[in-house]
C-alpha cells in the first residue's frame, strides 16, 4: 500500500503471480504429466508402469496415426477455406452501419450462443435420412447418407464446424473493418475506384493482421475439435472423421490405453505450437508495425 506508487517494475511483478500460478497448475503441470504418462503403460485403473518408448513406437508404427493426421489437416484446411472468405464478406457487410444490418447481425451471431454438443445433436436429428430435414420438407437431394458415407461425413463435419464458427470470425472481421480510416475510402473514391476495387485495394490489405489472428485461431482451434466430431460421428463411419483429438479420446478412455493416448496428446501440442509459430512468421518480423504508414 505504501510503496506501490512509483516503485517501478519490481513492485508490480507480484501482480503476475496469481495468473502465473494458475497457468502453472492448469497448463504447465498437466502438460508435463502427459509427457511423463506417454512413457508409461496405464489402463486408467491399475498401477502406472514405466514402459520406456513402447507407447511411442506402437503409436508411430500404427497406420492409424498418419490417417488421423491427414483427417485433422483436411478438416483444418477445408474449414479454413470455407470460413475465411465467408467471414470476411459477412464482416465487411455488417461493418457498415445500417439498421437492417444490425438486425441481421443478431441473427448471424446466434450459433455463437450454442454449445458444440447441442449443435451436433441438432444436426444429427436434422440429417436423419428418414425423419430429418430432407424427409420432412420433401426435398429429395437433402436425403443423403450424410453421416454414413466417408466423404459426405467429412463434408458434413466441415459444414457444421463452419456454421458454428463463422459468426465468431465475422465478428472479428467486422471490428477490424470498422478500424479502417474512412479517409482511405474517400481518397479512393476521388481516384475513381468502385466498390469491388475498394474492397481488394483497401479493405483486404488492411485486414492482413486480422486475417493472421483469425487464421491462427481457426487452425490451432481445429486441432482440438473433439466435442462436435465425437457427438456427430464419433470418428465414423469407420475412421473417416477420426481426427487426432478424437483418436486420443478413443484410445485413452474407450480403449483404456493411457500411454498411447498421451503420445497423441503430446503430438497434438507439438503440432499446435509449430503451426502457431509458423503463422506468426507469416505475419512478418514485427507484427506490431503499423499498416497505415504511407497510406
Amino acid at each position: 500500500m505504501t510503496s506501490a506508487v512509483g516503485g517501478g517494475q519490481r513492485s508490480l511483478g507480484w501482480l503476475v503471480l496469481p495468473a502465473l500460478l494458475f497457468f502453472a497448475a492448469f497448463g504447465i503441470l498437466p502438460l508435463l504429466a502427459v509427457v511423463a504418462l506417454s512413457f508409461t503403460s496405464w489402463d486408467g485403473l491399475g498401477e502406472i508402469m514405466p514402459a520406456g518408448l513402447d507407447s511411442w513406437t506402437s503409436v508411430l508404427a500404427d497406420p492409424g496415426l498418419p490417417h488421423a493426421l491427414w483427417v485433422t489437416f483436411l478438416i483444418m484446411a477445408l474449414s479454413w477455406l470455407v470460413q475465411t472468405p465467408v467471414s470476411i464478406l459477412i464482416g465487411t457487410f455488417l461493418a457498415r452501419g445500417h439498421r437492417y444490418r444490425a438486425f441481421l447481425a443478431v441473427l448471424y451471431f446466434l450459433p455463437l450462443l450454442l454449445s458444440s454438443a447441442a449443435i451436433a445433436i441438432a444436426y444429427k436429428a436434422l440429417l436423419d435420412p428418414n425423419f430429418g430435414l430432407g424427409a420432412g420438407l420433401g426435398v429429395p437431394w437433402l436425403v443423403q447418407n450424410w453421416l454414413g458415407e466417408p466423404v459426405l461425413a467429412l463434408g458434413t463435419v466441415v459444414f457444421v464446424v463452419s456454421w458454428q464458427f463463422i459468426p465468431f470470425h465475422s465478428l472479428v472481421y467486422q471490428s477490424a473493418v470498422r478500424q479502417i480510416p474512412v479517409s482511405l475510402y474517400e481518397a479512393a473514391r476521388i481516384d475513381g475506384a468502385g466498390r469491388v476495387r475498394q474492397f481488394f485495394a483497401i479493405t483486404l490489405p488492411q485486414l492482413k493482421y486480422t486475417l493472421i489472428t483469425s487464421s491462427t485461431l481457426m487452425v490451432v482451434g481445429s486441432l482440438t475439435f473433439f466435442d462436435l466430431i465425437f457427438v456427430l460421428t464419433a470418428g465414423g463411419p469407420a475412421d473417416a472423421t477420426r481426427a487426432l483429438a478424437v483418436d486420443m479420446y478413443l484410445r485413452g478412455f474407450r480403449g483404456n490405453l493411457m500411454g498411447p493416448a498421451s503420445v497423441i496428446a503430446t503430438i497434438l501440442v507439438l503440432v499446435g505450437l509449430a503451426l502457431a509459430l509458423a503463422l506468426r512468421r507469416l505475419g512478418g518480423k514485427d507484427p506490431t508495425a503499423s499498416q497505415l504508414e504511407g497510406a
Partner: protein, 429 residues
Amino acid sequence: MALAAPLGMSALASCGTAGPGQARAGEASIWYLSTQPQEGIRQAGVEAFNAANPDGKLALTFFQNDAYKAKIKTAIGADQAPTMIWTWGGGGLREYVRNGQVDDLTDWFAENPAVKDKRFAPSFGAATIDGRIYAVPCENVSPIVFYYNKDLFAQVGAQPPTTWNELMALVPVFNNAGIAPMSLGGQSRWTSMMWLEYLLDRIGGSEVFETIAGGEKDGWSHPAVTEALTKIQDFIRAGGFVNGFQSVTADSNADQALLYTGKAAMMLHGSWTYGGMKEDGGDFVPGGHLGFTTFPEVEGGVGDPAFAVGNPASYLALNSSATEEEKTIAKNYFANGLLTDADADNWITKAGSVPIVNGADAKFAGAADEEFLQFVYDLSSNAPVFAQSWDQALPPATADVLLTNIEQLFGLTITPEQWVANMNATQTS
C-alpha cells in the same frame, strides 16, 4: 481433486459428511446409476434394507451413467471406491479382477446356495472369470429380441421368418411394397454388432466366440465367422436394411420410430426398446401391432436356437480393499437385500422388465405387458448360454477396433477376409 465432491445426487441423508466412497463407521457404501424408473427401485430396495438392518446400514449415492463410468475408475485407482462396485460384468469386471480390486465370491456362493439358486443360471456367465465368480447378478435381464410390425406383415401376406433363407426371401417382398425390410441404427455400431452375435452363434455355436474372447491366436479365422460375415454382406447387398442405415442413430430412437411408423417391417433390438415404443408409438404397442420372436435359425448351422444374447443382468462386485465390517454388511445385502419379493415386484411393475429370479413369471399374471414379459422370461431363463455383447466381453482396446471394423463391414468397404485379418491382429496383444 482428491476431495472428490460427489457429482451425483446424494440420495440419503445418512450420507452425511463422509466422501462418496467412504461410509461412516458401521456403514457400507454403494453407488448406483440414477435414471428413472431404476433409480426409485434401487433406492426403495436400499431403504427397506436399512430399515431392517439398523446395525449395518448402506450409504447410497447415485451417479449419472457417464459420470459413473469416469468416476468409478478414478475412485478405484485412488482407493476411494465404494464397498460394492456396480458393473456390467464381462470385460470390465475382468479388468478389476486382473488388478486384484474385487473379491472372489465363489466360496461365498457355495456357502449360500439359496442365493445362487434363486437367480437365472445363465446370469452367472458374465460374472465368471476363469471359472471363478466375482460378482452378484442382480436387477433385470434384457435380451436382444427380433421385433416385427404385424400390420406390415399382414399387408404383404407374409409370416415372420423362422430361418435365414425365409428372411432373405422377405427382403424383395417388402422392398417391392415400398417398405424397408429391416430397421437398423447403423451409426451407433453396437446395433450392427448384435446381428453378428446372433448369426455367429446360430452358425457355429456359442463356443466359437468363447474361444475368441479367451484370446486364442487367430480365433477369428473359424469358418463360421467368415460365413456369418458373408451372410450379413449378402443381406446388405440385397437391400435388407433401410436406406441410409449408416446415418440412423439408436440414441435418438430413430430406428424404433422406423418400425412403429410403418417405414420398416422388422428390427433386431434390446428388450428395453419395448418400453420406448410403448411410450412413443401411440397405439402401436397397446393396440397389439408389435410382434416379437426369436432370431431366425440358419440352415445348416449347429448353434442351439435357444441361445440368447444381450444384457444378462446387472452386477455388484465386492471391493477387495473394504474393511471386514463393510464386507459383512455388503454380503448381508447381497443375500437379503437384493431381489427380495418387493424388489422383484418393482422391477416388473415399475420398470416393465424381467428380474433374474427363477419363478418370477408367477407374478406376471395381470401385468400390462404379460405376453412380452413371459416371452422375455422364457427366452432368458431357458437359454443354454446367455452371451454378453461382444464389446463388453472383449478387452476395451479390442472392442474399439471391433466396432470400427463392423462399421466398415456393414459399409461394404472391407471383405470378410480383411475383417478376419484385422481382428486376428488384435488377438496377439
